[in-house]
Amino acid sequence: MDMNEIKEIFFQECEEQLAELESGLLKLNDGDRDPETVNAVFRAVHSIKGGAGAFGLDDLVSFAHVFETTLDCVRSNRLEPNQDVLKVMLRSADVLADLTNAARDGGSVDEGRSRQLIKELEALANGELPQAAAEPAPKKAAAAPAPAPAPAATEEGFQPVAFSFDEFETSEEPTIEPSTYEIAFRPKSDLYAKGNDATLLLRDLSRLGEMSIHCNTDDLPPLDRMNPEAAYFAWKVSLKTDKGEDAIRSVFEFAEWDCELEVTLAGGDAGDAREELPMQPVPFDLSMLDEEPAAQAGADEEEDQAVARQREVRDAAVSAAETASNVVRMAQAATQAPGDGGRSASTSAAAQASASQQAASAATPTIRVDLDRVDRLINLVGELVINQAMLSQSVIENDTNGTSSINMGLEELQQLTREIQDSVMAIRAQPVKPVFQRMSRIVREIADMTGKSVRLVTEGENTEVDKTVIDKLAEPLTHMIRNAVDHGLETPEKRVAAGKNPEGTVRLTAKHRSGRIVIELADDGAGINREKVRQKAIDNDLIAADANLSDEEIDNLIFHAGFSTADKISDISGRGVGMDVVKRSIQALGGRINISSKPGHGSVFTMSLPLTLAVLDGMVVTVANQTLVVPLTAIVETLQPEASAIHSFGASQRLISIRNSFCPLVDVGRILNFRASQANPVDGVALLVESEGGGQRALMVDAIQGQRQVVIKSLEANYTHVPGIAAATILGDGRVALILDVDAIVAASRGQSLKPEMSLAAAG
């Protein structure tokens, strides 16, 4: 695998980590205080940082680093993850996602925003609560316990990003009183195997302040029995520093899991069991050790150059090792194949750790499969279904004996193909969770912009639906959520005045109902202001001033194109491209949308969508000797028109009267140019369909053949786009039947003919 593939896998993993991060933070926001949740959040950020470092994504690394530092404070119980803290963290998760996307797609990120968040995160890490809220931060823990047992996710031994000390100085409180820490440090052999060295760690440690040291050599065996690559030495260090415990732990950051480390504040009662050790002061100027290769070189400049070179070499070596370990890790994750990259001790150790990490997370095993492959399989199964239908049909035609074993076999085959079809569809089925998670971010952002306090409650996130539907669901949902927060919910003051919780609730629910997925978006706001909607509709000439509309009809007015009740056009909503666009997108998915609203109690939008776009329940009809399929979801009712109900209107328009209302009659055969003149409606059947904008039309067809599930075959992919036709299918008798694009037909009915540009206009 080349670097780009590895990078692609990294980004895929990032997506998973970001989802993990967000759901973890939301759990914490809901009051979950399980240390494992905090660990999972920390791991997610740490993994992203580690991977980003390997690819030199500096922006991502530096932001993740600050984020991680703050999360570490939460992990070590030095920072209480209250609502204010989590608000900052959730926003940071958003920025982290933006940075990841920018790194992948080359987009840009709002730098001001990330800088601002870095400041806020650093403030949190320094124990300052956001917005000077609530009780003072707990004092930096005096005697923190040894680091939590290594969360195995962070097995990467080291980081290519040489952390600069400036960074620590900015992220650490500069005004900590100098205190003396006792550090017990016992490296494991792994530490050396990964190319690290105790001398380097101790050197970095000595830079933090005044240090004295005792080396415990008791474990050192005689020369002939020792393993020269094993770790025998252990150290006790006493360090007087004003940088705080975090800085000390940072020194060991990338060795944390390859050593035993204990940092305690000296003089505490923990020190009673400590025996007095002969400590050697480490008083000298350590600059010498930075200039290792140039130690004997004379001129200062030469020394400096050598230092730089040496650093470069070391950084390169470290980053190479890091990359190698990532190769192994990613190769494992991707293909379960053993890494064929470096087989050095360090990489195999990293791979082992990674394997144990995967075991620890104990998720159900999954594989990544190209969507193309799944689609091909689905296509083939579609063919199989069609083929099976054709086979049954020809058997029925040729064999009149209904009890023959062939018929029984065919029935079994039919059952099997149906089962295969269902299982294949299940492969494409994905939980709606990722879309719902994206919504929580939208809610946060809109809430921030509008100054409202909003809580998003999601239910049924694991409800599964076809991936295509999921992909197309995000946009209409975003519109609706924005509307719900911006228009639906009141300001906190108004809510309090109305006797409600100042925090508004938006509830997003998904569930399966009779073979469809139903998504409900409910807010507990003021409900639709019918007076205002009505007035607006009158102003916009949508209804007559004296029109008598039911509540439901008024509510449905908001789905009209160009309708907006927002007094001012804001960034968020009110451009008038709101709900009509939503309705059109939902309809394009073969879905419906309903609204119900109670003044003072909020509104509920209910969307019902097909579970898949690969098969469709359709009504098979005949039009001018052609067989067509009309999607069942579009049809409200079917009726046999009577001559008395048909009324002419203008030159060529006709209306049909249905229960005291008039509905335009659309001759499908005429629109599709199947016939030159209009057919007599009385000879045919009218299908009452709901079209965009909420209006109803009666589609005239010659006869109804039946209702069945058909496999959708794309016309665009196999032939070319045909105006008025959404797709095609193959029927049991082997004939191709076209699936009507109801909206395009209705849109074209105004001009009585279907031209390509018209259908494009309708689609756009």
Partner: protein, 97 residues
Amino acid sequence: MASKNTARKTLKLAPVLDLNEATALHEKLLALRGGAVAIDASAVERVGALCIQVLMAAARSWEEDHSSFTFAKVSDAFVKTTQLIGVDFAPLMAKEI
């Protein structure tokens, strides 16, 4: 190599005594066992904890053998590193420096 040799042997240490060098140094020292040894650390630019462990183990083994194990020459980097990590070779150096 095991033959008793009263003549002091000198072992010159490599400039970089890292993970890779630890095993080599270990083998060299094992081969010198039995006779007095003077370590020449004058060229040492960088020394890791593993090699210091080997040297320390050697020093102890030589002491057990009642043989002489000294550091004839040392570089500044070598001394500073041993001081940094709290390993005291000074008595072994003092004799010769």
